[in-house]
Amino acid sequence: MRQQREGSPFTGLATVALKEAADHMTSARIHLVMLLVLLTAVGAVYAAIGQITETVSQDQFLFLRLFTTAREPLPSFVAFLGFLLPLVAIALGFDSINGEYNRRTMSRILSQPIYRDALLTGKFLGGLLVIAICLLVLWLLVTGLGILLVGLPPSGEEVLRGLAFLLASFVYAGVWLAVALVFSTLFRSPATSALATLTVWLLFTIFWPMLAPLIAGALVPVDPLNPMTAVDLVEVERAISRISPNTLFGEMTLALLNPETRSLGIVFSNQLSRALIGAPLPVSQSLMLIWPQLAAMIAALLVLFTAAYVSFQRQEIRA
């Protein structure tokens, strides 16, 4: 085991990250995914604009409605993002480590004067960089479309909320990138790691909303004579569903883009007694509301990255 190491673990980090980002930017696979995201985003926003101009007359947060308004049969922009961002992240990350083994470049790169830390972290940062660029472009696109087609510049508060939403999306995609990174260190075959990551994604996207009530029901039997057990059931179900990053992301977008959202838990009518229903919260309050969700996602991201790190540090570099 390495007791003390000389030199910085960050030597070569920037080089690896930039190479990784450049590779993604020129790869056909990423071009395809980006194209898909771009088309759906434009489609969703365009549909939302149609809906808005038809129905809404007076709305304080017209700009934010661009993100959240759905028009049948299309879902809203945020719903699309919640669905597609994990796919983008998975496409970026599923072969980051095992791909180097398969190209037989791993031992050549690691025989250069850098630590493994730099390679793994650099690959992760390279992926994050691409995600950040992609999200920024999308965000600017939506804003631009909104200004052009609705003719309404966003207010300062809306821009703030939009930026917070950008950050939330970034962290959400980062979690999925970390999931993909873990599987790419665990499995030597990119097909296996892609399948494993997609399985997790399917589990959380499709099955988790169905499973959470079942699990909660099994854990908390409801006593018809005691109404508190019903409340417990809902609380437990909510806790279970929050294991999924998709739930956390959904709650964050809800609080950020619908300023009327006052709570992300169940609300009793007596708690609302003195609140003005429908009155929007200030940005700072909405940020307080999503803070636990954001912190949980960042924590998940760090845990996943550490898992990838531990598994990679112990590998023998024979390829």
């Binding site: 085991m1 390495r2 007791q3 003390q4 190491r5 000389e6 030199g7 030597t11 070569g12 080089t15 690896v16 190479k19 590779d23 020129t26 790869s27 190209r103 037989r104 470049t105 031992s107 050549r108 790169i109 690691l110 025989s111 250069q112 004067p113 850098i114 630590y115 023998e316 570099i317 024979r318 390829a319």
Partner: protein, 314 residues
């Protein structure tokens, strides 16, 4: 002469099998050292241990006086490595691949492009350097691997199976390059399972068998120690008993009849004139005679066969 690589009692186990089982190795500055042995005998594992790419189960490694696990960056900065079946980024050109390495080495842009130009020139890939690596032949990839070692201006180059999969011409080309680098003072450690192919370039060799070094030393010393001679003369002659005719001849260390009229003579120098003279004196007719250096394959087979017989007898 100073020692640049030294291992003591190096062991690497995978579960119950020992891939490397007590290897003591010293490589001197400036020599070409061959790690030779059949597939699976532990050469690659030994190399990975030298580079710190895997951790030993037991034993110590010193490369340029440093421990590759404690000072990995210092060792990797001064040691070039060309892995077995070397891979590059196929979507990049040869030059771009080298540029990435140069950046990882921390070279400045100007210094990097100067070294890359020199290295590509050296391995004759100047034009191909602008093409994608996906279009390269096996031999070109190996040469690109050598170019990478050159860019590093490494003091030691560790080449794992540098000639495997190459046609005879590319092999010779690569071996010539390796010899040229050696003449400029680079220490070279190379591994190969084709013993005879690389024996001409190696100053010293270590013969691996099942994770251990059975024999090591200069090629001539090994052949004369194990087989008693450095040359093999094949003699075709009629009407003579060669074993008897050469019974007391100088420099002859062994005579074996391979079939009627064909003998193999082991000698420690070119003994053809003496053999010819004796065949004629004994009244025989000499029809053909050829000489070659004893190959390490013969040494290997003889040594480890005997080893196995001893092991079986014991």
């Amino acid at each position: 002469m100073s020692t640049v690589i030294e291992t003591k009692g190096l062991v690497k186990r995978y579960g119950r099998i020992a891939a490397v089982d007590g290897v003591d190795l010293t490589v001197e500055k400036g020599e070409v050292f061959g790690l030779l042995g059949p597939n699976g005998s532990g050469k690659t594992t030994t190399i990975l241990l030298l580079l710190g790419l895997t951790e030993p189960t037991a034993g110590t490694v010193r490369v340029l006086g440093l421990d590759p696990l404690r000072n990995p960056l210092a060792v990797k900065r001064r040691v070039g490595y060309m892995p077995d079946q070397i891979g590059f980024y196929d979507n990049l050109t040869g030059r771009e691949n080298l540029l990435y390495t140069a950046r990882l080495l921390g070279l400045s842009g100007a210094e990097a492009s100067k070294r890359i130009d020199e290295a590509l020139e050296r391995v004759r890939l100047v034009e191909a350097g602008e093409r994608r690596v996906s279009t390269y032949s096996r031999g070109m990839r190996q040469r690109l691997g050598l170019a990478e070692v050159l860019i590093k201006q490494a003091e030691i180059a560790i080449l794992d199976e540098p000639t495997s999969g190459l046609d005879p011409q590319s092999t010779q080309e690569l071996l010539d390059l390796i010899l040229a680098l050696s003449r400029e003072g680079m220490t070279i450690v190379l591994s190969s399972h084709l013993l005879a192919m690389v024996q001409s370039v190696c100053d010293r060799v270590a013969l691996f068998s099942r994770g251990r070094i059975g024999l090591s030393g200069r090629v001539e010393d090994l052949t004369s120690d194990v087989l008693g001679g450095t040359h093999v003369v094949e003699v075709e002659a009629q009407d003579v008993d060669l074993a008897q005719a050469l019974a007391d001849a100088p420099h002859i260390t062994g005579v074996t009849q391979q079939r009627p009229g064909l003998w193999r003579v082991d000698a420690d120098e070119d003994a053809r004139p003496e053999i010819a003279r004796r065949v004629v004196m004994a009244g025989g007719r000499l029809t053909a005679m050829s000489i070659r250096h004893t190959t390490l394959d013969e040494v290997y087979v003889r040594f480890f066969e005997e080893d196995r017989h001893h092991a079986a007898a014991a």
